[in-house]
């Protein structure tokens, strides 16, 4: 296999050889589709990030500052909605998942290549409709709570339909992944030898397939509420606004795991490679992904403790919310146990993986304050929630995404990125992130409510600190992507296996050829057998 990979000369650009718009727009190659998703979602990462910068800028002063209150509402809605629906949810599954799932299980493509490209174009159509709603921008917050969203003059209908399309694309992608993982594994690739990224993606796809239709029907009902004047969510017409919240969170909480599980999958790949040790507790990590997916469906009510749910229901949801921490804790302990006595090297993917663990623990440990009924009532809708959310989502998912980008950049582009530049960027990102968001924990504990455009002056100092932090963070992100962009063209050619990984994507050339492998590999062992060749590591039973 390795000889074969090396025989691919650097002049051969693998799947990237063919040029021209049509060769991309109509492609059935999962790798090209993954790359297209990557660029599309990154675009919205930057747009959403710009809104975040503007919000922070405005919040430097307590009074009416640069932008009006209405514009502020629009900006934070757009920041939230674009980041969530067009970046965090699709980024890892649709971009990295599409690229690597077939390669890592030793398949030539996904199960339904045509459906794959269709779902990309549905995604783009959804984005276009979503952007059409900017004609009269949303001011509802990304949660679209009724009855306000049913009455506001903003283009809620357009946005709902746009997000319905985005959701449809996500469903189709999820179905494609599930079937691919079930049916197209290479000979010898048993479920017990599946890379952990694949396990994460499998659990993710299940959530996508089972949760997304519920938000789909919710968006349809919201659109119908506005178009036909039906009143399912309108108390004045005998409807129930809580019904909307239940529907919304029945989707939106499990989707938190759509955001985090793929990132956890990436971390599970990176940690053993850069520790040169077999992953500890392979089965525990794999099954905890499924457990998170399952329990994730039972915790949505913790978003509604103060909405007027029955207290019995609140207690049950509170309990279940604590319960979901168990499989998450299992993963974290296993990663740490994997690193224990490993020969750890701190290349950029590992740096971001460790950042993920660090920030995610910080985000995770602040979760119980919100999951517990009593403290929740105190902290509900304060900056504490904003900080917790950003520590788990940006500190978790986005850092996992960055780890994945650094880890797989050589494979995807066929070039090496600069390690030195990656480190510089990392320092900026790590410091900037903590200055920006740790400050928000303090703000929240002091009682600063979220979503407020203007605030009492005693909070100003901390807001200034947070805003300055956001600049440092932005500089870091800019350096990181400059590193990628520059080395996409100028980087030195990447070897097939720069990190000495054992999963299948490293057994083919960088970048991979159109059908991934010259010959479908036969798998004889699990992908984490570092150290001695026949060292089975922690995998006790087989």
């Amino acid at each position: 296999m390795t000889e074969l990979a090396e025989s691919h000369t650097t002049a051969d650009r693998g799947y990237l050889t063919e040029k021209g718009f049509r060769s991309w727009a109509y492609t059935l190659d999962h790798k090209r589709i993954g790359v297209m998703y990557l660029f599309t979602t990154l675009l919205f990462f930057f747009v959403g990030g710009m809104f975040a910068m503007l919000l922070r800028l405005k919040l430097m002063t307590p009074g009416p500052g640069l932008i009006s209150d209405h514009t502020y509402n629009v900006f934070f809605t757009l920041h939230g909605a674009l980041m969530i629906f067009l970046f965090i949810i699709p980024a890892i599954p649709s971009a990295l998942g599409n690229f690597f799932i077939p390669i890592m299980i030793g398949a030539r493509d996904v199960a339904f290549p045509r459906l794959n490209i269709i779902s990309y174009w549905i995604f783009v159509a959804g984005i276009i409709v979503t952007l059409a709603s900017l004609s009269s921008p949303m001011d509802t917050g990304w949660t679209f709570y009724t009855p306000y969203s049913a009455r506001t003059g903003a283009a809620v209908t357009t946005l709902s339909l746009g997000l319905f399309l985005v959701g449809m694309s996500s469903i189709l992608t999820g179905i494609n992944f599930i079937v691919t993982i079930h049916r197209l594994r290479a000979p010898g690739m048993t479920w017990n030898r599946l890379p952990l990224f694949i396990w994460g993606m499998y659990a993710t796809s299940i959530i996508q397939v089972l949760a997304t239709p519920v938000i789909g029907i919710t968006f349809l009902l919201l659109a119908a509420e506005r178009l036909f004047g039906i009143g399912f969510f309108d108390p004045a017409k005998g409807g129930d606004p809580l019904l909307f919240q239940h529907f919304f969170w029945f989707y939106s909480h499990p989707v938190v795991y759509v955001m985090i599980l793929p990132a956890m999958g990436i971390i599970s790949e990176v940690i053993p490679v850069f520790s040169r040790k077999p992953i500890f507790g392979y089965r525990a990590i794999a099954s905890s992904s499924l457990a998170i997916a399952f329990i994730g469906f039972l915790v949505w009510g913790h978003h509604m403790f103060v909405s007027g749910m029955s207290s019995t229901a609140s207690v049950i949801f509170s309990f279940l919310t604590f319960f979901v921490a168990v499989p998450t804790g299992i993963k974290v302990f296993n990663w740490i146990a994997t690193m224990y006595r490993g020969s750890i090297t701190f290349e950029s993917p590992m740096l971001y993986a460790l950042t993920f663990i660090f920030l995610f623990i910080a985000g995770g440990l602040t979760g119980p304050f919100l999951g517990a009924l009593g403290t929740n009532v105190q902290l509900h809708d304060t900056y504490f929630v904003v900080a917790h959310f950003h520590y788990t989502m940006m500190g978790g998912t986005v850092m996992g995404f960055f780890a994945g980008l650094h880890y797989w950049f050589p494979k995807m582009s066929g070039r090496m990125a600069s390690e030195r530049l990656a480190r510089v960027a990392w320092w900026f990102i790590f410091i900037g992130f903590n200055v920006t968001f740790f400050t928000m924990f303090i703000l929240g504990l002091k009682g600063m409510p979220r979503r407020w455009a203007e605030y009492p002056p005693q909070y100003q100092d901390l807001h200034i600190v947070s805003t300055v932090g956001s600049w440092v963070l932005a500089i870091g992100v800019f350096i990181m992507f400059w590193n990628f962009a520059y080395n996409l063209f100028r980087g030195r050619p990447a070897p097939a296996n720069p990190w000495r990984g054992l999963t299948l994507e490293w057994q083919t050339s960088s970048p991979p050829q159109t059908e991934n492998f010259a010959e479908i590999p036969v798998v004889t062992d699990w992908p984490y057998g570092y150290g001695k060749k026949d060292d089975k590591g922690s995998r006790s039973k087989e």
Partner: protein, 196 residues
């Protein structure tokens, strides 16, 4: 990898893959309608009296005829699939055509029902019962329409001789989808027309 394998074996694998895909898709469809069933439950509990008086206004006869029409269409699709498994393309085409006609009849009757309600001023915004009625039957009608389009595609493909006893995966998939559309109606009919 697959080049050496026997053709029918490949076809079998392709069919299994496609079936897994359509089943996953149908699971999402169940959840899509599930939202409406949940809304029905919640809203009905909120105002059972109104639901009782309003349900009396639905046309049970049309509903019953439509049920028969749709169940029959499920049968014709099943017969078509059975035929193509034996390579009888002619029977498949007749069955597909019959199914499409039955689907059209269903939509025609639905149209008459809607017209009747509209004439009486029973609109989607009238009350939550009619909101639900229109949302549920409307979403179902969209699915019937999509099913008709799929069946028509199958008919055209069959006309071009694309199917045989060995290769007819798309027909089986379309058939499964059509059974699902039928099944949803089997739940909608008693829920809206029969339970007062």
């Amino acid at each position: 990898m697959t080049e050496t394998k026997h053709t029918t074996e490949q076809q079998g694998a392709a069919l299994e893959t496609a079936k897994l895909g359509i089943w996953a898709f149908l699971a999402t469809e169940v959840l899509l309608f599930g939202g409406l069933f949940t809304a029905y439950t919640v809203l009905r509990v909120g105002d059972p009296q109104m639901f009782h008086t309003e349900y009396l206004k639905l046309n049970r006869l049309f509903g019953a005829i439509n049920t028969v029409v749709l169940i029959t269409s499920s049968l014709t699709v099943a017969l078509g699939i059975a035929a193509i498994r034996e390579g009888k393309t002619g029977t498949l085409k007749r069955c597909l055509l019959l199914t499409i006609l039955l689907a059209a009849a269903f939509l025609g009757i639905k149209y008459a029902e809607y017209a009747e309600h509209f004439a009486r001023g029973e609109l989607p915004r009238t009350n939550n019962f009619f909101s639900l009625y229109y949302m549920m039957t409307g979403l179902h009608a969209i699915h019937v329409f999509a099913g008709m389009a799929a069946l028509a595609t199958m008919l055209v493909m069959a006309g071009r001789g694309k199917f045989s006893a060995e290769e007819h995966t798309p027909v089986e998939i379309t058939g499964l989808y059509w059974h699902f559309v039928d099944l949803v109606w089997i739940y909608l009919f008693p829920l809206l027309y029969l339970i007062g």
